[in-house]
Amino acid sequence: MATMTMAKALNAALADAMLDDERVVVFGEDVGQLGGVFRITDGLQARFGDKRCFDTPLAEAGIVGFAVGLAMSGLRPVVEMQFDAFAYPAFEQIASHVAKLRNRTRGALSVPMVIRVPYAGGIGGVEHHCDSSEAYYAHTPGLKVVTPATVADAYSLLREAIDDPDPVVFMEPKKLYFGSGEAELPARTEPFGRAVVRRSGRDATLIAYGPAVPVALEAAEAACEEGWDLEVVDIRTIVPFDDVTITESVRRTGRCVVVQEAQGFAGVGAEIAARVQERCFHALHAPVLRVSGLDIPYPAPMLEHTHLPSVDRVLDAVARLQWDDQPDPRWLTEGSAA
């Protein structure tokens, strides 16, 4: 096992995919000589030439629409959106074309591609550079939505995304880019559609994805002191979603907190909470709680820590999981049956 950053693992995944599959082309803004503002495409142009890895005009709808055409011609585009909010100009192309072309043509025309989106905050970025935009894509049928939280997953999921017959929005948590982890390349971890238990525990399940996974893990460690043995599940692929792993875990622990960095309202965490209570209702000792970013535009750097789901906030939620099997008084009413 080697120690490397997630950035390096992503870079290796791109390089290996380009090596293995001639059809793979990488393009976007500043991905060529510069190697991307996060250096994820570092060295690819030098190694594979400027036909395989190239800069485009500065236009995101153009980049994604161009990828649609390239995919139609038989290539495998991997495009980079420079930051989360700068993918919004491409939203029409993503929602109305990338997501729908296969279905529109009864499967005759598919446009496999990977749209890489460095997302979320925690890096002191200015406005529009830290959005958590995964819910927009997850709510759009026809897209797969994937987000790694470990170095090995970054490599493996990106390789799988590039090989996938369907378009994949590949959300890269920026704050994890330069954190290190263990991986043996070419790493192959669990396939799309499988959540992974990152930490086993008996008392409650924390469900998280992307940038929230390390927070959940840290919270689980801290919770030991309070006598709680928490399980942590990493979703990994939001679409397709793994109901099995999650349901199994929550039915076992009987308690659940969903952690996401995005603003909460109508986010992916809402979907997870809704699914868990649908499927695990009779196993639950307490409502499924959510810890998320606040329902505000992403704040300026000096205030972002208030916005971000913190270990403390997760522990607070865990504390509200009615450990004495008494209902949380805040939710208690005359009508309560328990």
Binding site: A61, L75, P89, H97, R104, T105, P240
Partner: protein
């Protein structure tokens, strides 16, 4: 550093300095002609030939005529089908036959077409099964034909978005060593969209072999051209991308085909995209559901009747003795036959399978879709039981 006393030099401000030596005009070869290219007068009589836009071979013109006649008949039939409830909606391209047919005649079979909802006539002229062309508008599925077989993208309703796809497709083809050309049909209104800008620009920067073919029919539904642009004409957008551009009388079939032939040749030769603006007019409402009396006078429509592209080409071809009454009648009969065949086939209600809704969202359905499919299957089974 000079120390010339400025006050003196400035005393008599001079006029615009003479351009010495005359800088080469950077827009040379990119701007369209000030007036539309035209090879036939409205009455079908020929104008002087042009070396830059050689007249297409007469066989091609005769074939163009044939497809325009069949196309118009198809178009009328489709409109009729809306009245019979066989089509949900139909956007006619009556009046735009020279463009509809010219665009596909300029291409090889292995080139790609990127049509909008208005190009049903173009697609049938390209030889695509009319029932498959009308699938979208009949409502049994979104796209009825296999784009990879007929080398034609699905008819695009989100305006201008296909401009970018075509740039990518054409670049991807040349990237893989094929000399495919992509032809984008787009309306005047859609040129206002950002995707038009981004598409033409990408094509130009990557020298992608795309012909952007604007059918300027002067309206975007009810909105007149004056609300789309203050430019001298849409063809003047090309120079801003470094793309050679031309405007053509879109109701002059000979000129349309001549200009498109040159545009396609330019693209195929690896010189990058070409922008063609055809000035034309749709004679019918935007779709059968539209009320054109709200936004244009009957007089205006009537005036365009005199510029009918089919009559124009017919009179020219008759004068050149490649068409006579018999040939005209024979082609009309073909058109009738085509329409009759279509009518008959469209009378058969298509079968749709609700469970097919889950088949093509992804290559393999997600577990969530499998679950939903099972639910729908159970519902259908219950309904059938209930019915039985």
């Amino acid at each position: 550093m000079t120390s010339t006393p400025q006050a003196v030099r400035r005393a008599t401000p001079r006029k615009r300095r003479p351009a010495t030596p005359a800088a080469p005009d950077p827009s040379a070869g990119l701007l369209p002609e000030a007036e539309s290219v035209r090879l036939l007068n409205p009455d079908g009589s020929p104008l002087p030939a042009r070396a830059d836009y050689p007249e297409p071979p007469v066989e091609a013109l005769r074939e163009m005529y044939r497809r325009m006649v069949v196309g118009r008949r198809f178009d009328a039939q489709a409109t009729a089908l809306t009245k019979q409830g066989r089509l949900a909606v139909y956007p006619s391209s009556r009046g735009q036959e020279a463009c509809q047919v010219g665009g596909v005649l300029a291409l090889r079979d292995d080139d790609w077409v990127f049509p909008t909802y208005r190009e049903s006539m173009a697609l049938t002229a390209r030889g695509i099964d009319p029932v498959e062309v009308l699938t979208l508008l009949r409502g049994d599925w979104h796209c009825g034909y296999d784009p990879t077989v007929v080398r034609t993208a699905p008819q695009c309703t989100p305006l201008a978005t296909q401009c970018v796809h075509a740039a990518g497709l054409a670049y991807g083809e040349s990237y893989q060593g094929r000399d495919t050309v992509a032809m984008v049909y787009i309306g005047d209104g859609a040129t206002s969209e950002g995707d038009f800008h981004e598409g033409v620009n990408f094509a130009a920067v990557f020298k992608a072999p795309v012909v952007y073919f604007v059918q300027n029919n002067r309206y975007a539904i009810s909105v007149p051209l004056s609300r789309q642009t203050a430019a001298p004409s849409l063809a003047y957008k090309g120079v801003g991308y470094g793309v050679p551009s031309e405007q053509v009388d879109g109701n002059d079939p000979v000129a349309v085909l001549a200009v498109l032939n040159r545009a396609v040749a330019h693209a195929r030769a690896g010189k990058g995209p070409f922008l063609v603006e055809a000035h034309t007019y749709r004679m019918e409402p935007h779709t059968n559901a539209d009320d054109q009396t709200r936004y244009r006078d009957a007089d205006e429509v009537a005036a365009w009747r005199d510029r009918d592209p089919i009559a124009r080409l017919e009179s020219y071809l008759r004068a050149r003795d490649v068409l006579d009454d018999a040939a005209v009648a024979e082609i009309a009969a073909q058109a009738e036959e085509y329409a009759a065949g279509l009518r008959e086939r469209m009378n058969i209600q298509p079968t749709v399978d609700p469970l097919s809704l889950f088949d093509h969202v992804y290559a393999q359905p997600t577990p969530q879709l499998v679950e939903q499919r099972e639910q729908v299957r159970a519902e259908l089974a219950a309904t059938q039981e209930g019915d039985a």
